[in-house]
Symmetry: C2
Subunit: 485 residues, 2 copies
């Protein structure tokens, strides 16, 4: 028995952290919720130690902590007593449930989303998952070995809000030199990837209820971000020339989110004519344009179409680039080429969002670009991606006409294939059968607001080698055969 | 003379990027804004080259680019002609000025803000600036040398939204073990510092117009973030026991932002009684509490008061910690100990904000904590900060009573001093005089919503050595003497 305070007989330790913290916490909670009254005497350290099967010094340490905090006082000869800490009143009422914001309510209404290419628990051996970029072991090792000296250059102070200046200069220089995009370092805002770029643009341009256009099919995390922000999202169809500008709404639109250089996920490259039409439409309706140029470095065509940003005479195009696809996704770095009119607002929004991105990786990236290693890496990647593309496309072309139709595949790291003889009713079984053979397939229809009439697959091929891709095609062929039978 | 198209006489190159991009851009713009009509013949490459004083191959390359883009066609014997690319219509109208969101309008109304401790251009030698943490060269070098292996562990895939699991475990373990804070890895959300923690909490809990309480004096970037978000911000006074809970509003409050373990910037430690009163008040008004524990590791007192999170029985305290002050600010990492009720919302908000924080530095930090180096670093820092604190406090105490009064200085890396004989009218001159001697002083009144009756200074001492601090005190004494005369 523990003596005067029988409540302590029921002390339950929560096994979290050190034993003495557990004891102190259990007593504290009993005081706070009124189970142990003010002025109660705590049992002797040896009695409680015996009760809880811990050492006496452990209980003594807990008592010392409670005394230091003001929960108890130890007096010679009269033991340790609980103080009158609690003014009358209850502190245990739960906060009103559901007492969250309209933003949170919208978040809750969205389907559960995971980033594209996020590691799943059990992935098939030959997974044609988009988002898995091509990573050169050599590049990655050279990258990581340079982090230490980058940290030295980056220093320990708070980062500059707009980004580490040598990186901003390197990006501006790269864009001017390689992409013909006229900008300078002061226009560049370094952000934590495309997702944060969109977040900042939403804040600066969109009130809740403002109308926004996205492509259909579309990039789910961008659409979800817009919906969660409270925008009214309208979809516009893609055909073989890109966004069908003639079907865009005539009402006032605040922002249009497009991926002209390689539409995600359809793979279509927007023609020059459509680009110009889109700019004209935007001029008429007053819309800003967010141009998400997520993987333009990996175009193999000989038609390097000018970006919307290059064609834009009015300063209404917000050009966003990222290093997630060209280097690796764990590096959370991207940039906005800011239109002058909203540059200061975007910088301030970044300041209030997270002060600025971490400096070390920015310094490493700046040096990587300036030393020419980035462009060497891109050339190598482009070559390797082209041979992977050839391998899978050539393999699939053997199946074309009879079973499938292949969408545009000239650019980027993915394309779409459409089933000719398979209905939506048999799609799940088909994918399941493929998985049992070690082949990962991913349907395209979840990317659509208005799903297509036939099922199709989003084929990401950058993460598999030529040999693996050949095996993947064989497995795919086998699935097609067995389902045709 | 250039022949048919005199418009090309007025081609102005913008000096941005390569010469051929400049030429192509200038022609493209002239086509887009109608200065060069469709079907116009471009001058021969040699003529334009002579006119622009560039090489002929350079002009030829620009023409090839324009042809590839579809802006021009080259026909044998008839030269290069502009195509009919532009449908009729104008694309040069500027977007409506001021066409930004209410958020941007609020941003614009805030004073220009820079992060605390951000590097100024010309800093005095002895700058008593808050925010400059103590950085051990040894710790920093050991940190940066471990980045390479951390990158290997972190890998190249997209980061997990909630944070790198070994780091989340390390933080939960550290908090349980060292701070007696009961939580596990699944409660921890890794974020890009306190600023992002606040951003996410605002989104999840606050609608525009919702009422929020902050302390007075207060941390400006937090208040600005709340104001920009659209919250109605009320200030509550601090006395020597911390937040004056009895003066808190009785109306419904959604969120209260407090720094109980070391009030920023006054330096006051909130008493146990006030902590409990605050929780009671929060229960009555339905307020959530954001507990910003930004520098609690550097308390030297023997009164380790329990955090509000520890005392909270209702799950209404959102505990936020950061590594900016304990390691270095360039590392943009902090964490939220999420209350269960809003955990999923906070995770989703993080996903939509930036997908997740970069993994490499998370992996480095996790290893740093798990290996015991973090706590060794803290012990060393605590000792060094204590000796710096003693040096400056002892020096200033020699001036106390006559010229100044020293505020609470037992915790953290800063304190406040108040002038006894100096009015606000002479403060600027005093600070200017100090600067001319190489001493950086920073007034406290800008941190107040309702400025105090006397001028005071916010003294940050962690960034200067004991020797430098002694010199700083001497210089300060000299300024006081000369102004008393």
């Amino acid at each position: 028995m523990l003596g005067p305070n029988t409540e302590l007989n029921r002390l339950v330790l929560d096994k979290n952290g050190t034993r003495y913290h557990q004891i102190a916490r259990a007593i504290r909670q009993a005081v706070l919720d009124g189970r142990i009254g003010a002025e109660s005497r705590l049992p002797s350290a040896s009695a409680l130690a015996a009760e809880l099967a811990v050492s006496r010094p452990c209980v003594q340490r807990a008592y010392r902590l409670l005394c230091a905090e003001g929960f108890a006082v130890a007096r010679p000869r009269s033991g340790t007593r609980v103080t009158q800490v609690m003014p009358p009143g209850d502190i245990s009422a739960k906060p009103r449930s559901g007492a969250t914001s309209r933003y949170a309510a919208r978040l809750q209404s969205l389907p559960l989303i995971t980033p594209i290419g996020a590691p799943a628990s059990a992935r098939p051996t030959f997974d044609l998952l988009y988002g898995e970029p091509l990573v050169h072991a050599e590049t990655f090792h050279s990258w990581r070995r340079n982090l230490s000296s980058a940290a030295l250059r980056a220093g320990t102070a708070y980062p500059p809000t707009g980004g580490y200046l040598p990186l901003r200069r390197a990006i501006a220089n790269y864009l001017s030199r390689r992409r013909g995009l006229s900008c300078d370092a002061s226009d560049i805002l370094v952000v934590g990837g495309t997702q944060q770029a969109l977040t900042l643009v939403e804040r600066v341009l969109l009130n809740s209820g403002d109308r926004v256009v996205v492509e259909d099919p579309r990039y789910p995390l961008a659409t979800h971000s817009l919906l969660a922000h409270g925008a009214k999202v309208t979809s516009c169809r893609i055909d073989q020339e890109g966004l069908v500008v003639s079907e865009l709404p005539r009402a006032r639109i605040r922002l249009t989110f497009v991926t002209p250089s390689h539409q995600f996920p359809s793979g279509v490259v927007m023609t020059l004519g459509r680009r110009l039409q889109l700019l004209q439409w935007a001029t008429r309706t007053g819309s800003w344009i967010l141009e998400d140029d997520y993987d333009t470095e990996f175009h193999s065509g000989d038609k390097p179409l000018p970006t919307l940003r290059t064609l834009d005479l009015a300063g209404r195009v917000i050009y966003v680039g990222s290093f997630s696809k060209t280097l690796f996704p764990s590096l959370r770095l991207g940039y906005i080429v800011c239109p002058k009119a909203i540059r200061d607002d975007l910088f301030r929004a970044k300041l209030l969002d997270d002060l600025g991105s971490a400096t070390t990786e920015q310094a490493a990236l700046g040096a990587f670009i300036n030393s020419g290693r980035y462009e060497r890496h891109l050339r190598k990647s482009l070559k390797e991606i082209a041979s992977r593309r050839r391998a899978i496309v050539k393999g699939l072309q053997g199946l074309e006409g009879r079973h499938i139709e292949i969408g545009p595949y000239q650019a980027g790291m993915h394309f779409v294939i459409w089933f000719l003889g398979l209905g939506f009713d048999r799609l799940d079984a088909f994918i399941k059968r493929a998985k049992s053979l070690g082949l990962g397939l991913h349907p395209i229809h979840p990317y659509y607001r208005f799903p297509p009439s036939r099922p199709g697959l989003l084929i990401g091929y950058a993460g598999l080698t030529v040999g693996q891709l050949r095996t993947a095609v064989q497995l795919f062929g086998r699935c097609l055969e067995s389902q045709a039978r």
